[in-house]
Symmetry: C2
């Protein structure tokens, strides 16, 4: 989730308010109203369940190293991988050696940094609508969404999942790098279709519906919807980092919350990757790493009765439904 998604979603909120869409949404929600996701997962209705999720694995050695170190603390429960990036083999080796690790595919249609970039998994001749003039994936999710041919998007994300599997990653879930697949209904439909076919849960959250009203109309009764997401944004000052997360954990409501963090070390590589972009930059990611691997975070979770869960647990509900 990124700032731009928030802005795009606000725009959508103003546009998409037809009675039909609202009706569909209510019908969809009513079908899961009897039992909450928390209950379906086998916890009491008032349980506070949290996925601490590291985005952007595979982008850089610094990201992989920080995420692996964070997984080892037990305080980061899940992560997702950018398949087109050159450091994919490193995180794939980790996945093969740690089959219990909760790793998903961070479906990627953008390449957002200035001096370090990547292209699609499929050949450029095959998915020309995904490429900017320099031959890489578009820099922003809005550009990607504006230019993307939906058939090419579907082929590319299927190829990313296949490539992850070919390298020995058994993905537990899907999400969308920079939220590109949440930009409009057509893209979201692709995510949902591909996730269903792969019998994988995907990141989508009840608290997004007010800002992206097309979502409920795409979702069916068997799709699993989180209750909310937490993601720190650039309006938080560096010195308020701990306070932001602490406040969020203290006020956590019952339900399933996905706390999205971006982990890396503020080393030369990461400074190079994120050059000129303090938001989600090297220091940002170091702050996220420092917080989620801290004893203070461990204590906070314990004191507030927050239980960490994984996407694998959520995914098991899909098999139950279908078998």
């Amino acid at each position: 989730m990124r700032r731009e998604l928030f802005i795009a979603a606000l725009t959508l909120m103003l546009a998409a308010t037809s009675a039909t869409a609202l009706h569909r949404r209510e019908r969809s929600l009513s079908q899961t109203a009897t039992k909450t996701l928390v209950e379906r997962l086998g916890y009491p209705r008032d349980a506070k369940l949290l996925i601490v999720h590291a985005d952007d694995l595979g982008v850089a050695h610094s990201v992989n190293s920080a995420a692996i170190k964070a997984f080892e603390t037990g305080l980061v429960s899940s992560g997702s991988i950018l398949v087109p990036c050159s450091w994919l083999p490193e995180i794939a080796a980790y996945a093969r050696a740690h089959p219990e690790a909760d790793l998903g595919v961070h479906l990627t249609l953008t390449s957002e940094w200035s001096l370090y970039r990547w292209g699609p998994v499929l050949g450029k001749e095959r998915v020309p609508s995904l490429l900017d003039s320099s031959g890489y994936l578009y820099s922003s999710e809005s550009e990607a969404a504006a230019h993307a041919d939906t058939r090419e998007v579907e082929a590319e994300i299927r190829a990313q999942i296949a490539r992850a599997r070919a390298l020995g990653i058994q993905p537990t879930h899907l999400d969308s790098h920079m939220g590109t697949l949440y930009q409009n209904k057509a893209l979201f439909e692709i995510l949902v279709r591909v996730a269903r076919e792969n019998k994988l849960p995907f990141r989508v959250s009840q608290d997004w519906f007010a800002r992206a009203q097309f979502m409920p109309s795409v979702l069916g009764p068997d799709d699993l919807v989180l209750d909310r997401t937490i993601s720190i944004e650039p309006n938080v000052a560096p010195e308020d980092w701990s306070k932001f997360y602490t406040d969020e954990i203290k006020r956590l409501q019952p339900g399933v919350t996905d706390m999205i963090v971006h982990l890396a070390f503020a080393d030369e590589e990461m400074k190079g990757v994120t050059l000129g972009h303090p938001n989600w930059g090297a220091e940002w990611r170091q702050r996220d790493f420092d917080f989620v691997t801290s004893d203070a975070f461990r204590k906070l979770l314990k004191e507030n009765n927050v239980r960490l869960i994984t996407w694998r647990e959520i995914g098991k509900l899909i098999k139950k439904t279908e078998n």
Copy 2:
């Protein structure tokens, strides 16, 4: 140049000794015998000209940073770029800001590290013979040469040159990463043909002919051939690094010599890239960087009357010939 090239060339030496090939070679050499390359470049016949050439730019931020720092010392005169790698935009930005920089295309048909890998510039559907089972370029030059369809090789290296140009790099020369295009006559013919069409000089050296006897038969009278190359090999112990280069410079003969170095910092990124591979690894590249940016190297060049030149100077001879 790599150890494997040496071994492959030795094999070729045993195979390729037909009278026809030797005849062609002598005829070719006789046409340039009247004037040496040194003289054609405008220097006295006994001048000792040296290109200090940084291979592998674009592979990693660590490599780019070290090479740029080395260029600034004036002691490294040239470099070549791996176009398929994700750090290409960083070195392309440097090239655009420094049009005087002597940068070539390090034509790439291999991806040799274990946890950090890359594919071709063309789509995988277009050049399937260049890909190993994991979908990346082959790990070794011998595997790449054994599997490569020559039409796919030619298309891919043309695409790499075009991509470099599209990002604002005006290449001054061509060479071949890990020497894949020197592995056999068919591959070498592609390099020569593409270089001629692009009116670019390419790395080839008289001292390779004894080990790769097909080379002279491919070369014509207008192709520019260096006199020799220097490249440190794994049989040199780390503590003998300076001694190796010092001895080489002291015994340098008149002519044009290409001293191939591999520059990077021994930082976390580079240790990750080269994991499990001390040869041409992070520490190796740090030692190369330390030597070629040292005052000792500067003094050595001066005391031995060695003059640094660039590939751009050599390339100017092509234009003279053709205009």
